[in-house]
């Protein structure tokens, strides 16, 4: 019976989404949601930093540069797709593309849990890639719009002064500096990670269900784009991962990162830097469509593809 069901975490998300559509609001209070994101981000950062402390080398620099290039490439492909098949204006086109070029830490956390349940190992440097992939799409998108609008530049503080990025970096720094000393803390966080993630997914499912009502006149394009783009992103992530020689777990995570779309950092930055941008439309695509697709179907699909590729 269980083999016919989606992943356990995906079902939490799916049920909350269905409940929301039926009128049962399962959203957590904002403070509780903030606490959950703090725990998830700090845990991811600490584990990544701790693992990096043992495995940092010069090859990592080359890998990091190629991962940053991946972020720009995904944004460019998204812009090309939006430009070809929709009538969105330049600001909305770039805003939507930047959401897909950046990453979702929530999707990454689900992918980690997916791998841990199946006892699949992955490379520690992937946590660093999460932090690196947050920014290129935002910088590229804002630079592109500034040039189009004839502006001289943009305020870098709006990009770097974001909570989710800061929390991952803090976690990674502490994990890398303290290494083994941080082990008891990481061990204590591990058992609650899955429960926190389940609660987080209930909240996100309810939020996605609510966001579905915001579909605009471009709904046909937004739904199609929200499903096609993550698969294209995953293909790019898998290609780079194969070239970097990552394991099955590493390939799955890099594919998931490239497939995910930001719904926290990018909307916050673009709302501030480009007030005319249609953030609601981008949020429907990234949260209601792509996050749902990745959590329910995408991650098992990418894991399966990673398994095949690693055997080549």
């Amino acid at each position: 019976m269980a083999s016919f069901l989606p992943d356990i975490l995906a079902l939490f998300f799916l049920m909350a989404l269905v409940c929301q559509r039926l009128g049962v609001n399962l959203q957590l209070p904002n403070d509780a949601y903030q606490l959950l994101t703090y725990v998830l981000l700090i845990t991811i950062g600490l584990k990544g930093g701790q693992a990096l402390a043992y495995s940092a080398n010069w090859a990592l620099l080359g890998q990091s540069i190629s991962v940053i290039m991946l972020g720009v490439l995904v944004t460019l492909v998204a812009m090309l797709l939006i430009g070809t098949f929709s009538k969105l204006n330049t600001i909305d086109k770039t805003t939507l593309a930047a959401h897909y070029g950046s990453v979702s830490v929530g999707t990454y956390a689900v992918a980690i849990s997916f791998l841990q349940l199946r006892e699949i190992e992955f490379e520690p440097q992937i946590a660093l890639f999460v932090a690196l992939l947050e920014l290129p799409a935002i910088i590229f998108g804002l630079a592109y719009l500034s040039r189009k609008q004839g502006q001289k530049g943009f305020d870098l503080r709006t990009i770097f002064a974001h909570k989710s990025l800061a929390l991952i970096v803090i976690g990674m720094l502490i994990g890398a500096l303290y290494g083994e000393v941080a082990e008891p803390m990481v061990k204590n966080l591990k058992p609650i990670f899955a429960v926190m993630l389940a609660l987080y997914l209930i909240h996100m499912g309810a939020l996605a269900g609510q966001r579905l009502s915001d579909l605009s006149s471009n709904h046909m394009f937004i739904i199609s784009f929200g499903i096609t783009m993550p698969v294209l992103g995953a293909i790019m992530g898998l290609t780079l991962g194969y070239w970097l020689g990552l394991s099955v777990g590493g390939l799955t995570l890099l594919a998931t990162l490239a497939a995910s779309a930001s719904y926290i950092a990018v909307p916050a930055v673009f709302e501030q830097a480009q007030p005319k941008a249609n953030i609601a439309q981008a949020l429907v695509a990234s949260l209601a469509i792509t996050f749902s697709f990745n959590v329910i179907w995408g991650i098992p699909l990418y894991a399966h593809a990673a398994d095949i590729i690693s055997r080549l």
Partner: protein, 58 residues
């Protein structure tokens, strides 16, 4: 152009589902992928009908 994209998305998803099945993807995930495709088509059709009735009423 949007309709072309919707058709291309469907073909793309069908192709992926086919590749996943032929390469031995776990049955649970494959089933959900098929359900996803069916939901996607139904949802698109539903939205299209809703749009038509809106246009008629206005």
């Amino acid at each position: 152009m949007q309709l072309v994209f919707v058709c291309l998305t469907f073909i793309f998803l069908a192709l992926i589902a086919l590749i996943a099945k032929t390469t031995g993807m776990a049955m649970g995930s494959f089933t959900t992928l098929l359900i996803a495709m069916a939901c996607y088509i139904l949802f698109c059709l539903y939205l299209k009908t809703q749009n038509k009735s809106l246009a008629q009423s206005s």
